[in-house]
Amino acid sequence: MSTISGGIFTSHVPGIGNAIAKGLQQDPYWKPFFDGFQPVHRWLDRVKPDVAVVFYNDHGLNFFLDAMPTFAIGAAPEYRHEDEGWGIAFPKPYPGIPELSWQIIEEVVESEFDPVMCQKMLVDHAVAVPFELAWPDAEAFPVKLVPIAINTVQHPLPSPKRCRDLGLAVGRALRAWEGDEKIVVMGTGGLSHQLEGKRAGHLNVDYDKFCMDNLVSDPDALLKHSTLEIVELAGSQGVEILNWIAARAALGDDCREISRNYHIPISNTAAATMLVETREAVSA
């Protein structure tokens, strides 16, 4: 029987990847963010998950506007990061677990979702940066990846409820999985930030606190705003909270917050990292 052990929620902005590439983790500007991963590192050392199911958004590495998916699920034997335009390509491959990917695809289609099924797929900084943050010293990543991309690029985006429901369906598939893997779910992106337009630099500490305060105890509170209301509150990239909403739903009801780190400014972003553990993990 598989176990969903917990969830890691974290910002993923390219600036963090740049800081990693340059080794700036101890730099006073970056340290307050990187230090947020100390509890994550201890938890991963203790739990040693085998699989990471990652809800993220592609920013224009694997998908373009010729064919922009609402939801895309990777089912490849291996994934790679590549140069996204600023010359950084993280070299370590991300091993896949296509059998589990297909189980997820079967479950979500059965549940009336319409995913794109991807047997070959590049993953961008929204997967690569969280992996570098979570396993900074790994020779090779110790988890197998199921990447699940949510459209946050081109409106109409899926609603928060739709993302929650996708997460619930993925959670059902994970619980039905007959392997004995320990699974960590990740939701990447956010929190409030906006890169473009006259409101560039928009941040919203109150909304971010609202999200962090409710994520574990009352995640449906995050559904009370529509996608466009979230754009207004959190900024046009802050809408990446959709990835957090989906990941949180996959975790199931019974979990507790282990740690929270929130720091402004990191790049133009309110950067946050949260670690959540399920009761399953504790009793396993």
């Binding site: 373009f64 506007l65 409101r199 740690s259």
Partner: protein, 128 residues
């Protein structure tokens, strides 16, 4: 301000133009060009001859002018999507604070100060 979608789905958000079908239609050529910048050799080709490269991707005159002027707001107005424009910004040597300053009319230092004005660190839970 923007009008998103049609009918009941219209919503105005200050200083924000959600990238929807209207903008996507307008901006395809510009975004197509920027998507090509994932490849270093394409970035180099653009650097060597911006005009030829823009012509190759059939940019509209409005889009070409916005690129020539390094006018980010005009690129957005011409349908540019920030995720693809970010790849162009890299070529132009602009980081996200530079972009923020350009779009808001602040100096880079003012923009950074604005970010810092929200400065806060919250840390809870199992830290050593």
């Amino acid at each position: 301000m923007t009008v998103l979608g049609s009918g009941a789905r219209r919503r105005l958000i200050p200083g924000t133009d959600p990238f929807d079908g209207d903008l996507a239609m307008r901006g395809f050529a510009l975004n197509d060009m920027c998507y090509s910048f994932n490849h270093a050799e394409n970035r180099e080709a653009f650097r060597q001859d911006e005009e030829a490269y823009m012509a190759r991707y059939n940019l509209t005159e409005e889009q070409k002018d916005a690129v020539r002027q390094r006018d980010v707001l005009a690129m957005l107005e011409a349908g540019g999507n920030v995720y693809y424009l970010a790849k162009l910004a890299g070529i132009l040597g602009l980081n996200v604070q530079d972009l923020g300053a350009l779009q808001t009319g602040m100096s880079v230092d003012e923009f950074k100060a604005m970010l810092l004005s929200h400065g806060v660190t919250i840390r809870e839970g199992e830290f050593a």
